[in-house]
């Protein structure tokens, strides 16, 4: 009944003013709410990240510094300066509230601190350089996999599909069960090591100069093919399985029977009725599993020594470069929360019912 009353309120006077009011009142309100939640997620996650080192009672940074100091050598000069900065910023003698305040202040300015291993390079420098590689390759592949997988699943879940589709696609779906980085290893072995068609690792050949020339771009693309396929194969299967299930569920809906009774063309029923409705939970799913996709891709980068976030993370772990690790974690959380926020606010465009639910 509330739904009805709201609804008819809208239809009663469709004037410009009322449209504006509805936009601000419901849609605007909805975006604001989602944005506040985005801020909340980032804040809470950062707080957790702040607390974790203080729970263990140990100070990895101090230990690392001591270790380096004992070794002496080339880093000695920078070390003193860094130790001072460290003391000033994170001095454990300061009260916890001040430390927390400083941490949040830096975060608000998007200042992730300095690297211990590569002092005085900043974490921002290191992370954002590798982020370009990660976003370039993994971002494209994730979206591509989502589209391809959803389409494949839609066809597989359509009762009027040609029979052979089943036999071609179903075996491909089992690839979804194989972790991406293992698929990566198989691909390297077959196509890079055995056949030698494609480069074994890296984002570009050591010999080339990373400037924007035609040769360089071809080289980068060649290096991207294997990691891309490793992710594509397994993620496509994941989306296809989900979509297939949703398509089968959709078949039982009353509006599908009615679409047939209306004598619509098969193509229209497929696209406008079945696929569009089955797509909605897929998009929700995308928001939910974003986290696992990102970490999975981080590992694929590691296998290929691809110069993205994953590789940097590995290096940082090896060198106990605490601030770089922390920076990467924060950037990834930012990315996932941001992408979820985007999906959340785009979702009402796909599903008109959501506006009512949110208000």
């Amino acid at each position: 009944m509330t739904e009805n009353t709201q609804a008819v309120e809208k239809q009663s006077a469709i004037t410009l003013a009322s449209i504006a009011r509805i936009f601000l009142g419901i849609f605007g309100h909805f975006i604001v709410k989602r944005f506040l939640f985005f801020i909340f997620v980032v804040w809470l996650a950062s707080t957790v990240i702040f607390i974790i080192p203080r729970l263990s009672g140990q100070d990895p940074v101090k230990e690392k510094l001591l270790l380096e100091a004992q070794r002496g050598g080339a880093m000695q000069t920078g070390l003193d300066a860094m130790a001072k900065t460290y003391q000033k910023k994170f001095g454990l003698d300061q009260p916890m509230s001040t430390q927390y305040f400083n941490f949040m202040k830096d975060l608000a300015r998007l200042d992730l601190g300095v690297s211990i291993a590569f002092y005085p390079r900043t974490v921002n420098d290191i992370v954002f350089e590798s982020l370009a590689w990660t976003l370039g390759l993994m971002g494209t592949v994730t979206i591509l996999a989502f589209i391809l997988g959803t389409l494949a699943g839609a066809v597989l879940g359509w009762p009027r599909r040609p029979g052979w589709v089943q036999y071609v696609f179903m075996p491909l779906l089992t690839l979804a069960a194989i972790p991406q980085y293992l698929l990566a290893m198989i691909l390297i072995f077959v196509f890079a090591f055995q056949l030698g068609w494609l480069p074994l690792f890296g984002g570009y050949s050591v010999a080339t100069v990373p400037v924007f020339t035609f040769e360089f771009i071809v080289d980068v693309l060649q290096h991207a093919i294997l990691p891309a396929f490793a992710i594509l194969f397994s993620v496509v299967g994941f989306w296809a399985i989900g979509m297939r299930g949703m398509m089968i569920n959709t078949q039982g809906e009353d509006y599908m029977i009615q679409a047939d009774a209306k004598g619509l063309k098969g193509s229209r029923i497929f696209m406008r009725y079945a696929l569009r409705n089955a797509l909605l939970p897929q998009v929700t799913g995308l928001a939910l599993v974003l986290g696992t996709i990102v970490t999975g891709q981080v590992l694929v980068e590691r296998v290929f020594s691809y110069p993205g976030i994953g590789d940097i993370l590995f290096q940082a772990i090896r060198l106990s470069d605490f601030f770089v690790i922390r920076g990467i974690v924060i950037v990834i959380i930012f990315g996932i929360a941001g992408a979820t926020f985007l999906l959340d606010i785009l979702y009402p465009l796909l599903d008109p019912r959501i506006k009512v639910r949110s208000s």
Binding site: M1, T2, N4, T5, Q6, S12, I26
Partner: protein, 353 residues
């Protein structure tokens, strides 16, 4: 005369106004006063369309909703002040029968579960044998054969059987009031009679009051003593069924009765009535909520809300057409209900099925 449950100027609102609400407020139940007496067991129908507030009213009576305004009294005591023990007693003494006899069953269990659980929870039986006897008695009371019913899963029984087990369940708890919310609307016509008969029998043989919530005025007329008609949260008409159904006074009741599809091809509907208008929020309506559909609408209907006017001692209505009768002194609508069973209740001939 002891009062079991009393609603004193009870209002229930949903939704909220202001910046974060969407501005639409639904007054599901608006200023209702009524009493349910123990020693005068009767069958009372709450009738209305969807959105009339009849389900909200029944949830209030069950204690599942808390009034937004007004007081609810259980045996004379304010509902908010009940002790744990009293609340537990209340829970046992008023029992529901829901609309969908299938969904009332947990698919994990055999139908026995729904009968034995309340006995266990309220410690009604001292031994397993006593428990079994109680269950069998209750089943027989509603015309079921225990051997054919117990030990089965709900999907193995018919809709009619399932609903009658629900009546038996309510019976086990020895309640004072049974609240039957559309108990036959999802059951085929040929099976309705037996369920309604078993409900009627509870009232007559065991002295249990029944609140029968329905949109079906025909069955209401057949089994109940009293009726109240709701429209958008207000009670527009109330009284004994013998008074209200043949002589409806409120234009809405008249429309409702006239719209019932009677199984008589010689007696067909008149012209098409106007559509309902949901455009306005309940709080924006200053006058009578039925004004925009009312064929007899007057100017004052749009500006001020009608009060309860007494047509005679067995019927009240909330319509300005009867303003000259004067506002009721006692807001309790049940004051128009018959105090003694006057109608002849037919003895159910068929309880086998």
């Amino acid at each position: 005369m002891s009062t079991f449950l009393e609603l004193d100027h009870v209002t229930k609102k949903f939704g909220s106004e202001g910046m974060f609400g969407n501005g639409m407020v639904t007054i599901a139940v608006d200023d209702v006063s009524l009493t349910i007496d123990e020693d005068e067991p009767s069958i009372t129908t709450v009738a209305g369309e969807s959105g009339s507030g009849k389900t909200t009213l029944s949830r209030l009576l069950l204690g599942s909703h808390v009034p937004t305004e007004g007081r609810m009294l259980y045996r004379g005591k304010d509902f908010t002040q009940l002790t744990r023990r009293e609340r537990r007693n209340f829970r046992r003494e008023i029992q529901p029968i829901f609309q969908d006899p299938f969904e009332s069953y947990n698919p994990f269990y055999k139908v026995d579960h729904v009968l034995s659980e309340p006995i266990k929870n309220f410690k009604l039986a001292s031994s397993g044998r006593e428990k079994n006897r109680m269950i069998e008695d209750a089943l027989e009371m509603v015309g079921l054969v225990p051997g054919e019913t117990l030990g089965r899963f709900p999907h193995q029984l018919s809709g009619g059987q399932r609903q009658r087990i629900m009546v038996a369940r309510a019976l086990l708890l020895k309640p004072r009031v049974i609240l039957a919310d559309e108990p036959v609307s999802m059951v085929d016509a040929s099976l309705r009679a037996t369920i309604l008969d078993s409900i009627r029998r509870l009232n007559r043989d065991l002295g249990i009051s029944v609140v029968y919530v329905t949109h079906d005025l025909t069955t209401a007329y057949q089994i109940s003593d009293n009726i109240l008609i709701m429209y958008r949260g207000t009670i527009v008409e109330a009284g004994t069924v013998d008074q209200v159904i043949p002589n409806p006074q409120h234009p809405y009741t008249q429309l409702l009765i006239e719209s019932i599809p009677q199984p008589d091809p010689k007696n067909r509907w008149g012209s098409e009535p106007p559509q309902q208008n949901w455009d306005t929020s309940d709080t924006d309506i200053a006058g009578c909520r039925f004004a925009d559909r009312c064929p007899a609408v007057m100017d004052q209907c749009r500006t001020s809300a009608p009060k309860q006017y007494l047509i005679n001692e067995k019927q009240l209505t909330r319509c300005f057409l009867h303003e000259e009768k004067g506002e009721m002194q006692n807001p309790d609508i049940t004051s128009t209900f018959q105090t003694e069973s006057e109608t002849i209740k037919a003895i159910p001939a068929d309880m086998s099925a």
